[in-house]
């Protein structure tokens, strides 16, 4: 090993880290983070529940994956204004 190479030796762990992060971001999208739908359902619910009264039982989240596209279907039944405050933000 030349003296120059000794002093310019680059560590390899950062490369491993970057390659893994890229690869896994892709693989998780393909295989699906198995808990993705449940996770989405929880978080979407939490955001909506901040502003609108909703019945957690009447929420349906469906993820449909095809080769080149995917759809996320969210079906939420909102309680009538008589039974709960209805105040939409935005």
């Amino acid at each position: 090993m030349s003296v120059l190479r000794f002093f310019t030796r680059r560590s390899t762990a950062p490369a491993a880290r970057e390659r893994l992060q890229l690869l896994l971001a892709h693989e998780r999208a393909v295989f699906g983070r198995a808990d993705l739908v449940a996770l989405l359902q929880d978080e979407i619910l939490a955001v909506i529940a901040k502003h609108v009264a909703i019945d957690p039982e009447k929420v349906r989240v469906k993820l449909d994956r095809q080769d080149s596209w995917a759809t996320l279907e969210v079906d939420i039944e909102i309680r009538s204004p008589a039974t709960g405050p209805l105040k939409m933000a935005g």
């Binding site: 560590s11 762990a13 950062p14 491993a16 893994l20 983070r33 808990d35």
Partner: protein, 272 residues
């Protein structure tokens, strides 16, 4: 209340069986009653690592199929009487496992032990699926190396979808056991660091097992490393991990070998 724990990894050769034996023994050393179950049907090795290979008469398949009962198949460890082994079959294949049979055996074990530790086969096939199926928590054995981390990520996905707990809508607890870790190489930048692996997999850490010749010495002898050399670095790391499993808070360190003055003075000695 019995805890069912699966030791899994996806990738082979990262230390699942070694870790099952060491964690099982370490938990048993704290007074808990523990059974380690080998799910690697056709390629059993937990019996060998535990030093019980000549005591196997009946196995998991025999119990699953009702040809033997648990009392006949369980092998009690000769060193720690709170530790037992349920070996896998060497002659049958994974198709001999049935969902109902495995469930019945796990439920029966729950009534007898504090901990049921399931040693998963490598891969994501039937055997691995049955090993994780009834788990309350999972220990994911990972080497600080790209292929092992990738396979662990796949296994985490399966744990979140294929386990009974996941199907009930609950989250299965997933803990990282980083094995063959070399702090010097990690510091030098030639090995993924603990934090890198934790960040990539986003699960919590159970323990860091340093790379050590003591692990091979222990398997040569057929003894969990926590029993063959309790003061060695990997044994202390496994013992700490076992105490964390029991809910204790122990500072996370990478144990290193203690210099033995007399050992150095009198030269090298074969493992006793």
């Amino acid at each position: 209340m019995a805890e069912v724990l699966v030791v899994t990894s996806g990738k082979g050769g990262v230390g699942k069986t070694t870790s099952t034996a060491a964690l099982g023994a370490a938990l048993a050393q704290t007074g808990q009653s523990v059974v380690v179950v080998d799910f690697d049907v056709g390629l059993r090795n937990l019996d060998l690592v535990m030093g019980a290979e000549r005591r196997v008469v009946y196995d998991l398949i025999n119990v699953v199929q009702g040809d033997a009962n648990l009392n006949q198949a369980l092998i009690r460890d000769k060193r720690i009487d709170t530790l037992s082994l349920l070996p896998a079959s060497q002659t049958r294949d994974k198709d001999a496992l049935t969902a109902e049979g495995v469930e019945r055996v796990v439920n029966e074990l729950k009534g007898r032990f504090d901990w049921i530790i399931c040693d998963s086969p490598a891969g994501i096939e039937r055997g691995a699926y049955f090993a994780m199926r009834h788990a309350d928590l999972a220990v994911i054995v990972t080497n600080p190396e790209v292929s092992s981390v990738r396979d662990s990520d796949r296994i985490i996905g399966l744990l979140d979808s294929k386990t009974e707990k996941a199907e009930r809508g609950e989250t299965i607890e997933k803990l990282l056991l980083l094995t063959r870790y070399d702090p010097v190489r990690a510091e030098r930048g030639d090995m993924l660091k603990v934090d890198d692996v934790l960040e990539i997999l986003s699960i919590s850490l159970l323990g860091i097992i340093p790379e050590s010749p003591e692990v091979l010495k222990a398997s040569n002898l057929g003894s969990p490393v926590t029993l063959s050399n309790p003061i060695s670095a990997p044994a202390r790391a496994y013992a700490d991990a076992a105490r964390r499993l029991r809910g204790e808070t122990i500072q996370m360190t990478v144990p290193s070998e203690k210099k033995r003055f007399f050992g150095n003075l009198f030269g090298r000695r074969a493992a006793a």
